[in-house]
């Protein structure tokens, strides 16, 4: 027999993987992040990046943004499982390709190099709203905001110019236009 067989389902055909961004509004209480993350690890879902902070201090609401990959069936399960958690208020789910949604990540680069190279660096960063946060005669800390792929590309590109340290956030997301997600 060619394929292994079992009483359990075995993923014979692996479905196409999509990248999705989940935005989850939760009560800002202790353990809530552990519940969300534990759900992902416990059920074998993947987390590519994670960003979380309180967004409404009076209502005590935090907003968790999770980038994940999975088959359509898995993505559906993630959404439904998240909605079952008691401290979760609502869950939004966007495809990465969705044009109606803005995704952004932030990165900090530390470049240690001569002035000339630093200037070249800044030039490369120009497209991504660079902000110089710190500057000495032989180093610079620069902040950019961009998409994940762009930051990936930039950190590769800046390596030869003296990039010594990278720090980056998870993605955050917001819909375009006047509408808000209900």
């Amino acid at each position: 027999m060619s394929s292994p067989k079992s009483a359990y389902s075995i993923p014979t055909k692996k479905g196409k993987l999509d990248t999705h961004i989940f935005v989850v509004w939760v009560d800002n209480e202790s353990g809530v992040l552990a519940r969300v993350v534990g759900l992902f690890s416990g059920r074998g879902y993947n987390i590519e990046s994670l960003a979380v902070a309180e967004v409404d201090a009076t209502k005590n609401i935090s907003r968790i943004t999770i980038v994940t990959t999975g088959t359509p069936q898995v993505i559906d399960q993630i959404k439904l499982q998240l909605k079952k958690l008691v401290p979760v208020h609502k869950v939004a789910d966007f495809k990465r390709e969705d044009k109606k949604v803005i995704f952004k990540e932030m990165a900090l680069f530390k470049i240690v190099a001569q002035k000339k190279k630093i200037e070249k660096c800044l030039k490369e960063c120009k497209k991504f709203n660079p902000v110089i946060l710190d500057k000495t005669s032989k180093s610079i800390v620069v902040q950019i905001t961009a998409l994940r792929r762009e930051i990936d590309k930039m950190s590769k590109k800046l390596k030869p110019y003296g990039l010594t340290s990278t720090s980056r956030t998870g993605a955050i997301a917001m819909t375009r236009g006047a509408e808000t997600f209900k």
Binding site: M1, S3, P4, K5, S6, A7, Y8, S9, I10, T12, S30, G31, A34, R35, G38, G42, Q73, D76, Q77, L80, Q81, K83, K84, L85, V86, H89
Partner: protein
């Protein structure tokens, strides 16, 4: 200013407001203030178990047989970790439990204090929700919320961790306001269109089957009545999962037996060949579906479930109706009655060929076995037990293994809440403490744990609980000296290498019974079986019945690993034709 109450008093005030009658628990340092308060609340009775796992399973038995949530009280550290198995069991089988655990005082949390553990951390994946109460003012709200979460939607276990200083701290208490806004996790908003679609499918089906599960039981006794009406109205064959047995009468002609790995030939073939599959309150568990790719390949599938995350989790369905089983089925009946007069007759005609086919499958008598007049066959023992108890309202619990499957196959349940078994988690040692809980809920009823000798030894100490509270539970052990299901799989899949599945030093169960202060009965011979079973039933007190059965008997029919529903092993005679393939073994 209103009166101030301690945390311990608040716990009991809340339990009284929730109309809790029984707590299953075990005291310890971090819950002493709560235990100290127990004496002031006569409406709540505490059942002292012998191990916290027993408390959890007893509460499960209580909850499953009564429909009320089970309440468990344990101490910090080992008390909490011991109850984890029972919480997980309740989570898998959707049993409402409220577990209250003590915790070290708040200022000691995180210091590796004596009997400290991260209880909420450990129980997070095995509860619907849990709370660590660090502020006394939160306590009343949290306890009431806990009951609500446990009972509503798809039921399940919850845990409240209360540090010792919170149990001493004081606050005021306002009575629970009934009918508060629900927490938004309940889904009962199915539409008319969905019901119409369901009825359209029903009217078109030529080979339909209804497949029901534990959700019908959890929806309440009324749901079983509604289901009966529905199934009789449409005239379809009905099969049930392990957990759903009793929702539809087991001796009814429309009932074609349990389905799945050890289900009947007719049920599994009906699942495979049907053109309409109506799943009511079941979750397409892997023991039911067999090989996913070849699961019911020709059918339109309908799934009625209260938990939206159950829909399309394993099997893609054509019509999903999210809602309470009773409500959904009731509105379907209403619509059918309104629209389709004479549906019963037209349905009957359309599916008459299908019924003929099912009758053909039935003639295979897949639950048949070769009886013996020398050895007691385990199936025979269960059949006799059924015949001798069917005229009274009997509650059956089981452990996990071959005996569990034989009980499910040969004991016929006619009412819901009479069958308590660990299906999802498959917890050996569940049945005895569960029987304790069932007997607490139904003091005058006959409660029998159909057990295996290996399983029952895992929680045997709870016999002591049964004796303490005069609970006349009957432990009916099908003793084959093997972990039977392990042995069966080793025989079929591992070249009869019976690695560690034989128990060499079993206790003398009759003497063990006597040591606990209950009655021991032993049966070796089929001729004496009936009399001894009667002796067990007639004895007013707990009994351990050591029924020595044929140790080589296997549980058939069986869907072997890697096979779809229509390729079952039927019994000893059929075994040779259906050898399990080499690669199948590794993945079972």
């Amino acid at each position: 200013m209103s009166k101030l109450y301690t945390g311990a008093e608040i716990v009991f005030k809340c339990l009284e407001d929730q109309e809790v009658e029984y707590i299953f628990g075990y005291p310890g340092g971090a819950v002493l203030p709560i235990y100290d308060e127990l004496k002031n609340h006569s409406s709540i009775k505490h059942i002292l178990v012998r191990h916290e796992q027993g408390a959890g399973h007893a509460a499960e038995g209580y909850a499953r047989s009564s429909g009320k949530p089970g309440v468990v009280l344990v101490t910090s550290g080992p008390g909490a970790t011991n109850v984890v198995t029972a919480l997980t069991d309740a989570y898998m089988d959707s049993v409402p439990l409220v577990c209250i655990s003590g915790q070290v005082p708040t200022h000691l949390i995180g210091t590796d204090a004596f009997q400290e553990c991260d209880t909420t951390g450990i129980t997070r994946p095995c509860t619907k929700h849990n709370w660590l109460v660090k502020d006394i003012k939160e306590l009343p709200k949290v306890i009431h919320e806990a009951f609500k979460v446990a009972k509503t939607g798809r039921p399940g276990p919850v845990l409240i961790d209360i540090p010792k200083d919170i149990q001493f701290a004081k606050t005021n208490y306002t009575k629970l306001k009934k009918e508060k806004k629900l927490n938004g996790k309940i889904h009962n908003k199915f539409s008319d269109n969905e019901i119409n679609e369901l009825i359209d499918l029903i009217l078109k089906a030529k080979k339909p089957v209804v497949y029901t599960g534990g959700g019908v039981i959890n929806s309440g006794p009324q749901a079983s009545e509604t289901l009966k009406e529905f199934v009789r109205l449409i005239g379809f064959p009905i099969t049930s999962t392990l957990q759903g047995l009793g929702a539809f009468p087991g001796d009814d002609n429309q009932f074609i037996g349990m389905l799945g790995m050890h289900g009947t030939y007719e049920a599994n073939n009906a699942m495979h060949d049907c053109d309409l599959l109506i799943n009511i309150g079941a979750r397409f568990d892997d023991r039911i579906t067999g090989k996913i790719d070849e699961f019911s390949p020709k059918s339109k599938k309908v799934h009625i479930d209260i938990d939206p995350s159950s829909i399309n989790k394993i099997i893609k369905v054509d019509l999903a109706i999210v809602g309470d089983v009773n409500e959904v089925v009731k509105s379907a009946i209403k619509k059918i009655n309104k629209k389709q007069n004479g549906l019963k007759d037209s349905n009957k005609q359309r599916i008459s060929k299908w019924w003929e086919q099912i009758q053909k499958w039935r003639t295979k008598d897949s639950l048949g076995f070769i009886n013996s007049d020398k050895d007691i066959k385990p199936q025979h023992a269960v059949k006799r037990l059924y015949e001798l108890t069917k005229n009274q309202d009997t509650f059956i619990t089981t452990e996990v293994g071959q005996h569990q499957m034989w009980a499910a196959q040969h004991y016929k349940f006619n009412k819901p809440n009479r069958w308590m078994t660990s299906g999802g988690l498959g917890t050996m040692g569940y049945g005895l403490p569960a029987a304790v809980g069932v007997q607490i809920a139904h003091p005058d009823k006959l409660v029998i744990d159909i057990a295996g000798e290996a399983s029952v030894l895992m929680t045997m100490q709870e016999m002591s609980t049964a004796v303490q509270y005069n609970l006349p539970i009957k432990i009916f052990i099908l003793n084959n000296q093997y972990m039977g299901m392990v042995r069966q799989w080793q025989e079929l899949l591992h070249e009869k290498n019976y690695s560690e599945s034989y128990t060499e030093a079993l206790p003398d169960f009759v003497k063990l019974a006597e040591a606990y202060g209950c009655k021991g009965i032993k049966a070796n011979n089929p001729n004496e079986l009936d009399d001894k079973i009667k002796e067990m039933i007639d004895y007013n007190g707990p009994v351990i019945f050591d029924c020595h059965v044929d140790p080589n008997e296997n549980c058939f029919p069986m869907i072997p690993s890697g096979k779809p529903h229509n390729q079952m092993i039927l019994g000893p005679n059929d075994k040779e034709e259906n050898k399990i393939s080499g690669k199948g073994k590794t993945l079972v």
